[in-house]
């Protein structure tokens, strides 16, 4: 019995049993994720200060090289390492279970590290100046593709370990009833990840063979299958991010699940339809016809968008009901005005929700409309959009949850607590201002992935209107703010992990600094009694107003874009 007992510790805050192997793997993956984020942030400074034409810091070669590095380190290595930590948390920890085959966890960690290092070595030695997308016939060194493949194989193994954990927990009967919603969300992320990684194998293995001159590669087929990896992996991020919203809603204010059926069906809609979004990148391509484009770009009539609109309602409504159950029942918005806005776990989650929904979601669906893509494809509107989904949404949610992972998993008090309280606002504001600057530039036709928007060396002069300088300044200032916000986060995370003070039962009791309010005093996670039915019946009156404001913004933005489209040349 002792051998088994040694495997676990009991969490003094949540009462959960924590497998020590899982805990160590969470720590390792999270720390490495932050290291890759640092690489991405360093590249971000160089990119922002070069694209901002008034500064124009780097030469063309280094601009494109850092752009390649930024995409890979942020979108692949940082995010996926962090997601691996999320899987080790949502599986073994939330289910009170052991982690089967922990050694395999370390093998996959090693493979992913090897892959990520190999890719970085190739990029920084100038052997892979092909940007994140590596569209053939642009070719990188074969070892670059080998690096990506090793990383993907490692991630696939972690997905399998998560699945194995579900089986083990079920067999050991470690939890009553069904798996929690957060674990269910992580499961959907895992299923999407497996689909995505299979597409990754389908495209990177032939590309490796092509780079070794062993087979031919059709550039359009590459684009089709690459984006089944590239875009679908963003849907892993969405599913993981939404799971974290539900997790933090519970931990920070005792937010409830309005209806298990609705939230779970919405997650299943992601699995069924979200992988079709590869089409978003091919709307003005010569390879596919309009019927294919319309059906796929709309995820079969926008069923995955419906899923996001459902979560976009149920998460804030669950928070509202949780707050109302605590007694914040006055007016429509007391639940918001009395919320713990100085808890970075809460503020980061709320900002992520708002930035992802209002900015990322609305722009994404609009850009992904077959005809509207004609006025937007490969302009600055595209990076403007995805920096408010994957950065303002996913990365910010990951930062927010880190403020709970540090005390609950690393058992450390968060360092520089005063800075931590403002960090999500800094980062969220910076990335939003940057994205607005990019989107406005894109509206004027400024291309993405472009070193010199003054076109000094081109055969014909291109003169953009003066107002574009203002939009570039917005992008530059917002980008620097966001990058500094990321540096703040990295500083806090590294200082806490390596030099942070232990969090003990006493430090919780004494309410010492560096412990989020949800850890100091966890809100009730289960509510019973007559009051519950009454609050539920009254409903989320405040959230209803917020989602209608969202809907009006969505309708306006969508039709303004049709109006702009209708004023250009006839084309067909």
């Amino acid at each position: 019995m002792n051998a088994i007992a040694d495997l676990f510790r009991k969490c003094p805050v949540t009462g959960l049993k924590v497998d020590k192997n899982a805990e160590n793997l969470i720590k390792a993956n999270a720390v490495v994720a932050v290291v890759f984020m640092l690489l991405g942030v360093i590249a971000a400074f160089g990119i922002v200060l070069t694209r901002w034409q008034a500064v124009h810091l780097l030469n063309a070669e280094w601009y494109y090289r850092l752009l390649t590095s930024h995409g890979l380190n942020m979108l692949i290595f940082f995010i996926i390492f962090f997601e691996m930590a999320v899987l080790y948390f949502a599986g073994p920890v939330l289910l009170n279970s052991r982690l089967p085959a922990p050694k395999l966890g370390w093998v996959s960690f090693g493979l992913m590290m090897l892959g990520a290092i190999l890719v970085n070595v190739m990029v920084y030695s100038g052997k892979a100046d092909v940007l994140f997308t590596s569209y053939p016939p642009l070719m990188a060194d074969p070892l670059y593709y080998v690096g990506i493949i090793l990383f993907a194989v490692g991630a696939l193994i972690v997905c399998m370990l998560f699945m194995a954990t579900l089986v083990a927990a079920k067999k050991d009967k470690t939890y009553p009833g069904s798996i929690p919603l957060v674990t269910f969300g992580a499961l959907t992320a895992t299923i999407i990840a497996i689909i995505t990684l299979i597409h990754g194998a389908l495209i990177y293995i032939p590309t490796l063979l092509w780079s070794l001159n062993l087979m031919k590669m059709d550039p359009e087929i590459y684009r089709l299958i690459f984006w089944a990896l590239g875009h679908s992996s963003q849907q892993i991020n969405v599913a993981a991010m939404v799971s974290i919203w539900y997790l933090l809603a519970g931990l920070t204010v005792g937010g409830v699940v309005l209806n298990e059926k609705i939230s779970r069906v919405a997650f299943v809609l992601y699995i069924l339809f979200i992988s079709m979004a590869s089409a978003h990148h091919l709307l003005v391509d010569p390879g596919m016809g309009s019927a294919w484009k319309i059906w796929n770009t709309s995820y079969a009539m926008y069923l995955a968008v419906l899923a996001s609109m459902i979560h976009g309602f149920t998460v804030p409504a669950g928070i509202e009901i949780g707050q109302r159950l605590k007694g914040f029942v006055n007016t429509r918005f007391e639940w918001l005005s009395k919320a713990p806005w100085s808890d970075p776990g809460f503020s980061g989650m709320m900002l992520s929700l708002v930035i992802f929904g209002f900015m990322g979601g609305i722009t994404g669906v609009t850009l992904g409309t077959e005809q509207i893509n004609i006025i937007a494809h490969n302009t600055m509107r595209i990076p403007g959009h995805f920096h408010v989904t994957v950065v303002g949404g996913t990365a910010l949610a990951f930062m927010a949850v880190t403020y709970y992972v540090l005390p609950l998993i690393f058992r450390k008090r968060v360092a520089f607590w005063g800075m931590a309280k403002v960090q999500p606002y800094f980062f969220g504001a910076g990335i939003s201002v940057m994205a607005v600057g990019m989107i406005l530039q894109g509206m004027y036709g400024i291309p993405r992935r472009h070193w010199d928007s003054s076109f000094a060396g081109s055969p014909f002069p291109v003169q953009f209107p003066d107002i574009v300088n203002l939009f570039q300044a917005l992008m530059g200032i917002g980008g620097l703010l966001a990058a500094f916000g990321a540096v703040m986060f990295i500083t806090i995370a590294v200082a806490t992990v390596f030099f942070g003070k232990e969090m003990t039962a006493d430090s919780i009791k004494n309410g010492e600094s560096g412990i989020p309010q949800g850890v100091l005093k966890l809100s009730a996670q289960v509510h019973q009694g007559a009051n519950v039915a009454a609050v539920h019946k009254e409903g989320a009156k405040g959230t209803m107003i917020l989602v209608f404001i969202f809907l009006v913004a969505f309708i306006l933005y969508f039709f303004v874009n049709w109006k702009i489209l209708s004023s250009t040349w006839k084309v067909g």
């Binding site: 809603a249 699940v257 091919l282 016809g289 419906l306 014909f460 509510h527 489209l565 006839k570």
Partner: protein, 183 residues
């Protein structure tokens, strides 16, 4: 009967497949109707709208496309600008534009209000056709001929900016379309 509610980290016990409350149903219904509008706009625009990316889409061998562009230039060249041939094709004809590292060939003169079939292809890597300031963007892929029926709506000089990364000289890849007043 007492009602129980819990957070997303609690394992739900018993049967959780329960009907949604009226508020959730209302929002989901509205959201679904909006999704149908989002979807319906695309087929609607194919019928009623003037801007669609349909095109005449065929595979082409790179050398054949190069030969077709060369013949197009030979037939209709009217001058040269910065070393790039300037071509004025007859109204309503097929127009061939080639993207290659790092130039758009040739410069094309068109007439306002006339429909042309603009062919786009590449002989090396992916390029991006971005007509400034007309806001028309299309992907240019080697091995594929994208034939788009275009009708210039205003006279003036238009730049073709490459907006797909195509190597170290990408940012210098700018071409030109000159639209003259109608006949």
């Amino acid at each position: 009967m007492d009602m129980e509610m819990h957070s997303g980290i609690v394992s739900p016990e018993g049967i959780w497949w329960k009907p949604a409350a009226s508020q959730e149903k209302r929002w989901i219904t509205i959201a679904f109707i909006w999704c149908l509008v989002l979807f319906g706009m695309m087929p609607f625009w194919h019928i009623k709208g003037g801007q669609n990316p349909s095109g005449i889409r065929t595979r082409v061998i790179e050398a054949d496309y190069q030969a077709r562009v060369d013949r197009f230039i030979k037939d209709y060249q009217v001058g040269t600008e910065n070393g790039i041939p300037v071509v004025e094709p007859p109204a309503g004809s097929d127009v061939y534009l080639l993207g290659h590292m790092w130039e758009w060939t040739p410069v094309i003169k068109l007439k306002k209000g006339v429909e042309y079939t603009l062919h786009l292809s590449s002989v090396d890597v992916n390029h991006g056709f971005s007509l400034y300031p007309a806001k028309l963007n299309f992907q240019v892929i080697p091995g594929y001929d994208y034939g788009l029926k275009i009708t210039p709506s205003i006279a003036g000089d238009f730049n073709i900016i490459c907006n797909e990364f195509c190597g170290i000289g990408h940012h210098n890849m700018v071409g030109k379309i000159i639209v003259g007043e109608s006949l």
